[in-house]
């Protein structure tokens, strides 16, 4: 049954991917990309990767779509079509596809317990997590503690991406200066005059924030963690910005505060790592943070997940505001 459903979802994925390539209508392409992410999330969930599914649904299908739409507001609606047959790229893609299909012949069967990936370090992680870290969600233990360096790197990828986008958008002169004029301009007003979306949206925002906090702090016990929670909190604030107008959202959470969030989260993560060194152990070793090594691991995971969540929220909101401000001028 799982196999059947997986094949069905993968077939839909291929169809969606082909549709994205075929369509020249950019708005359709964005919506199809969102559908692609949602299908991907369902697929991950089917493979028991609930953490990845949550990330894919929140970031891929949710926030990315909003950001794409924001970018779309700045460009034309249709892709410029060219009818030149490009033989070289086509042959490169065809050859790569054939090589990849050939490579799959050597792969172990789906769900095979003898597969190398299940024989290498995974058993050690599953066996030692209760002993060293003592939390039920092994994924969080691996991401946060055993492979804390990798997650640190991911946070800095997000951080760098945010800085890059802000840098690109601030290049245009006169963008931020006339905020006084923008405050009274019509587009900054959001959906204030539309009763139904406004009432429902205002009703939902507190619950979305609460769910974000749940995902943030429940990550050690169930699926979740900083990346997903950051996306959910950012989504709640973007919803607020859509309803009440961007100016009001900026009054609640100004750009300066967002920069502090962006840098502060990454700094918190790095700071926890440095604290490990200062307390006489290795970088990102949380065992020394408290008298009891396991309590130290718990504290370290809590802090770094908070750092991840803060940075992700800050970056996503900064990018959103960058697009929104650019569209207005």
């Amino acid at each position: 049954m799982t196999i059947l459903f997986g094949v069905f979802l993968l077939t839909l994925l291929v169809i969606t991917a082909l549709a994205i390539v075929r369509t020249s209508h950019l708005f359709s392409a964005v919506i199809l990309t969102s559908i692609f992410s949602l299908l991907m999330a369902a697929n991950f969930f089917l493979l028991d990767a609930a953490d990845v599914a949550l990330t894919e649904a929140a970031i891929g299908a949710g926030i990315s779509t909003v950001l794409f739409l924001g970018a779309l507001a700045l460009t034309a609606e249709h892709e410029r079509t060219t009818h030149v047959l490009r033989l070289l790229p086509l042959s490169v893609v065809a050859v790569t596809t054939l090589i990849m299909i050939y490579a799959t012949f050597d792969k172990p069967r789906f769900g095979d317990p003898e597969a190398p990936v299940h024989q290498h370090v995974a058993p050690w992680y599953i066996e030692k997590t209760p002993e060293y870290i003592d939390i039920p969600n092994v994924v969080t233990a691996v991401l946060g503690s055993f492979r804390g360096y990798d997650t640190f790197g991911e946070v800095f990828v997000v951080f760098t991406a945010g800085i890059g986008v802000m840098f690109l958008f601030s290049a245009r002169p006169g963008n931020r200066k006339d905020s006084q004029r923008q405050a009274t301009a019509e587009p900054g007003q959001g959906l204030r005059h539309y009763l139904v979306p406004r009432v429902v949206g205002r009703l939902l925002i507190p619950f979305i924030l609460l769910f974000g906090l749940y995902v943030q702090f429940h990550g050690e016990y169930g699926p979740g963690g900083g990346f997903q929670a950051g996306a959910i909190v950012a989504a709640a604030i973007i919803l607020y910005a859509l309803l009440e107008g961007e100016t009001q959202a900026l009054r609640v959470l100004p750009l300066r505060a967002l920069s502090v969030l962006v840098a502060g989260g990454a700094l918190l993560y790095g700071g926890v790592g440095v604290a490990g060194i200062l307390l006489g152990s290795n970088f990102l070793d949380y065992s020394v943070l408290a008298a009891d090594p396991i309590a130290g691991q718990h504290l370290g995971l809590l802090l770094i997940e908070a750092g991840v969540g803060i940075t992700v929220t800050g970056v996503l909101l900064s990018i959103f505001h960058a697009f929104a401000a650019r569209g207005r001028v």
Partner: protein
């Protein structure tokens, strides 16, 4: 007949009805002539389809935490999908798409 069997039958009836409604909604969204009638057809999926499917799954889950979660999802859907439909319809109206236009908008002919 045992209780479990009855619950099972009721749940499958609900699931099948919900699935049928979602199918009809999808068909309507494909075949209807303009945006407003399409939305009308698709609203079957959002409301009755989702309600029946979730009710069916709730019967399968029994009295457990999953049922409460499903009830929360249902409440969320019942709040958000009408609001989203409302927003979509007013956006379409604002963009100048008139409800009495019986044809598919010109932009979709070009594909």
């Amino acid at each position: 007949m045992t209780m479990a069997l009855l619950v099972d039958i009721a749940s499958w009836v609900l699931l099948s009805l919900g699935g049928a409604l979602i199918f009809i909604g999808g068909l309507g969204a494909l075949r209807m002539p303009n945006l407003y009638t399409r939305m009308h057809a698709a609203s079957l999926t959002d409301t009755m389809g989702a309600m029946l499917v979730i009710a069916g799954i709730m019967l399968q889950a029994g009295a457990s935490l999953a049922t409460i979660k499903l009830a929360a999802i249902l409440l969320f859907l019942l709040l958000t999908s009408p609001a989203a439909s409302n927003a979509l319809a007013s956006a379409a109206l604002l963009a100048g798409l008139r409800p009495d236009q019986g044809t598919i908008p010109a932009s979709e002919h070009s594909e």
